[in-house]
Each structure stands twice: as structure tokens, then as C-alpha cells.
């Protein structure tokens, strides 16, 4: 790490490659979800990178590293709890009135204006009639994340269509 602090990129790469499996192994004890694990692992390495100037070579490396990993995991847990609380509030997805299969050109136009993930969520749930679980599986995200996307889509559509 001391060499990495001095700008030795090879040493830094070796270090990151060496600690990667250790950090992952440690995080696996706390996180079971693969997506969460990847997120926290990435946060840990990015935080380590931004805090690398704080490492003191005269002190042990592990407490420094695991303090960063623990903090990244705790931050992630807090964010997740906040998100979950919000997801509960939109459990009952609002209905969007559709008339048969041919929907208004204005709606089609508004849908095109949405970001792709939101458009997909809306289309799967309201046009294709998929369940939240099926739509989430198809999008490769958690059901909660899909609900959030759908909720944002409804909100954006309401704003775009003025109702």
C-alpha cells in the first residue's frame, strides 16, 4: 500500500487483486444477495481508493481495510432500508387507464420520452400484463426495484400527459 500511495500502479494492482477475494469472502458473511454483494464490494474498493492517503504503513493494514468494508456495508444497509420503506409506500401500483390495445398517440409519444428502464417497466406491467415478479425477473432486477421504476414511469407519464 505504501508503494501504491507513491503512485506505483503495479503494486496497487497486485494489492487490489490480492484483497479482492478477501473482501468478498468477508462481505459474504453479511450479505447473501449477489447484487448487494457486488454493490458493497465496489463501494469498498472505491472508498479504499479515495481513502488510500490515510493509510499509515506503520500500522496494520487489515483493521484499516475492514473498517472501510464495514462502513460500506453499513451504508448500503441504511440505503436499502430507506429504499424498502419507500417501496412499501408504492406497493399498490396506481392504475393507468388504457383503452384496449390501441393506446393514444400522445401516450406512445410520452412513453418514448421515458428512460428505457422506466419504459420497460411500464410496458411489461401495463401493456403486456406481466406480474411484478415476472417483469422483475425479465428485467434482471429485484421486484422492489421494478416497482420503483414503474412508479417513476407513472409519475413521469402523468406529468407528460398533464393528468
Amino acid at each position: 500500500m505504501a508503494r501504491a500511495q507513491a503512485g506505483d500502479r503495479d503494486a496497487y494492482r497486485s494489492l487490489l487483486e490480492e484483497i479482492g477475494p478477501i473482501v468478498l469472502g468477508w462481505l459474504r458473511r453479511w450479505l447473501t444477495d449477489a447484487e448487494d454483494l457486488a454493490d458493497v464490494y465496489q463501494d469498498t474498493l472505491v472508498h479504499l481508493h479515495r481513502a488510500r492517503h490515510t493509510y499509515d504503513p506503520t500500522r496494520a493494514f487489515e483493521p484499516w481495510l475492514f473498517a472501510i468494508a464495514r462502513n460500506a456495508a453499513a451504508d448500503h444497509g441504511r440505503r436499502r432500508r430507506r429504499r424498502r420503506a419507500w417501496e412499501t409506500a408504492v406497493d399498490d401500483l396506481p392504475e393507468v387507464a388504457m383503452e384496449g390495445e390501441a393506446f393514444e398517440p400522445a401516450l406512445a409519444e410520452a412513453l418514448r420520452a421515458l428512460p428505457r428502464p422506466q419504459r420497460e417497466a411500464f410496458t411489461m406491467l401495463k401493456l403486456e400484463g406481466l406480474s411484478v415478479g415476472d417483469a422483475a425477473a425479465r428485467a434482471g432486477v429485484s421486484p422492489g426495484a421494478l416497482k420503483v421504476r414503474a412508479h417513476r414511469a407513472y409519475k413521469a407519464l402523468r406529468a407528460l400527459l398533464g393528468s
Binding site: R9, R13, A60, A67, I68
Partner: protein
């Protein structure tokens, strides 16, 4: 999710950005620098407000104990704040115990002060607001200096680090103010000397929780 390519990509990105960084000084060294700043402010600014009976007060054992205890507490609080800015540091029991003991001594010595019941509100606030103003002038530089020092590190518990910084800066300013203010009265000391330390600590914690986490989204170099 654990495809080698995904992890390699992240490592590549970090390695590409791995410019040399200036290593943070040890907390003990940074504390000395900060104490020098506090001393400088106390000499330059505090000297203008110094109480006329300071020489006599310095012969009072209880005053000396109070000042010494608060100096120790302020210094150790500053040290703990700076340690909090380095991941992996644990608060030592001895340090925490010493801080609690010294603060208790200061609190007990404050409680021994006489109460003057003859204050009118006008006079009470006239003296008090002057002390508040002087406290604000004296604490500004040490407080901001310490918060910037924390920001230069990587405080994982931002609120706690900033609370310690606030307590340290306001605590040492309390000592300087005791050398400036002649009013030895419980209500005055409680409201205009001790309360600012508590409010400053809380304010610092709030500011820190808001501002310090930004180290995560910026480069340290």
C-alpha cells in the same frame, strides 16, 4: 455477478486513477499543528480580552485544576477527532476515560461557583453576549481548521468525528475565555461559557454529518 471481467474492469479503473498521494500525517502530529493554531489564536486574539486579575487567578488551585483539566480534555478530544478521520482507529479506553474524568472535574468545579441573584436581565445579557461574541471570534479558526483537517482524512463516522472536533475547539476556547472573563458566577458561566460548548458540539455534529461524507465522492489527491 462475479465474472472476472467485471472485477478487472473496476480494478483497471482504480489503477488508472492511482496518482501519487500525499500521505496523511499521524493524528498526533496533526494534533500538535492544530494546538499550535489554537495557541496562536489565543495569543493574538485572546490577549486583547485577557482579564485584569489573571495573575491572581492563576494562584488559585481550583482555577488551575479547572484550566488544566479542560486543556487535557480539549486536547484529547481533538486527538480522538483526528483519529476518527483515519479508518481502523479505535478509541482507546484510557483516552475516553481521561476525557470523561477531566470533563467531570470541570463540571464539578463550575458547580462550586457562587450564584448571584441580583442580576437584572439587561446586565446578565450585556455581559453574556460579550462573552458569546468573544467565544465566536476565538473558536472560528480552530473549529474550521479541525473540520478541514477531518475532511482531508476519511472520516467514516462523519457526525461523531465532527462532534469531537466541535467539542475540542469549543472546549479549548472555554479555557481561553476563562482567562478573559472576570465573571465568576454560576449562571453566567453555565449559560455563556458551558452552553456554547454543548451547542457548538451539536452544531458541529450536524455540519459534519452533512459535509464530511463528501470525501467519498472526491479525489483525495
Amino acid at each position: 455477478m462475479q465474472e472476472p471481467s467485471w472485477q478487472d474492469e473496476l480494478i483497471d479503473r482504480l489503477v488508472t486513477d492511482a496518482r501519487p498521494v500525499r500521505r496523511l500525517w499521524r493524528p498526533e502530529v496533526r494534533l500538535l499543528v492544530w494546538l499550535a493554531v489554537v495557541a496562536l489564536v489565543a495569543i493574538v486574539v485572546g490577549e486583547r480580552f485577557v482579564r485584569s486579575d489573571l495573575e491572581r487567578k492563576l494562584q488559585s488551585p481550583s482555577f488551575l485544576i479547572e484550566v488544566a483539566a479542560m486543556l487535557v480534555a480539549g486536547g484529547l478530544l481533538g486527538l480522538e477527532a483526528l483519529r476518527t478521520a483515519v479508518p481502523g482507529y479505535r478509541h482507546s479506553r484510557v483516552t475516553v476515560g481521561t476525557i470523561i474524568a477531566t470533563l467531570t472535574i470541570v463540571a464539578l468545579l463550575q458547580l462550586r461557583q457562587p450564584i448571584h441573584w441580583g442580576w437584572t436581565a439587561d446586565v446578565f445579557f450585556q455581559f453574556g453576549l460579550l462573552c458569546l461574541w468573544r467565544t465566536a471570534v476565538l473558536v472560528a479558526v480552530p473549529w474550521v481548521w479541525l473540520l478541514v483537517a477531518l475532511r482531508r482524512g476519511a472520516p467514516l463516522a462523519s457526525g461523531r468525528a465532527a462532534a469531537l472536533a466541535g467539542a475540542a475547539a469549543f472546549g479549548l476556547t472555554f479555557v481561553v475565555m476563562r482567562s478573559c472573563c472576570r465573571t465568576e458566577e454560576l449562571m453566567h458561566l453555565g449559560v455563556f461559557h458551558v452552553l456554547p460548548v454543548l451547542v457548538g458540539t451539536a452544531l458541529s455534529a450536524g455540519l459534519g454529518a452533512l459535509l464530511l461524507p463528501r470525501w467519498r465522492s472526491s479525489s483525495p489527491a
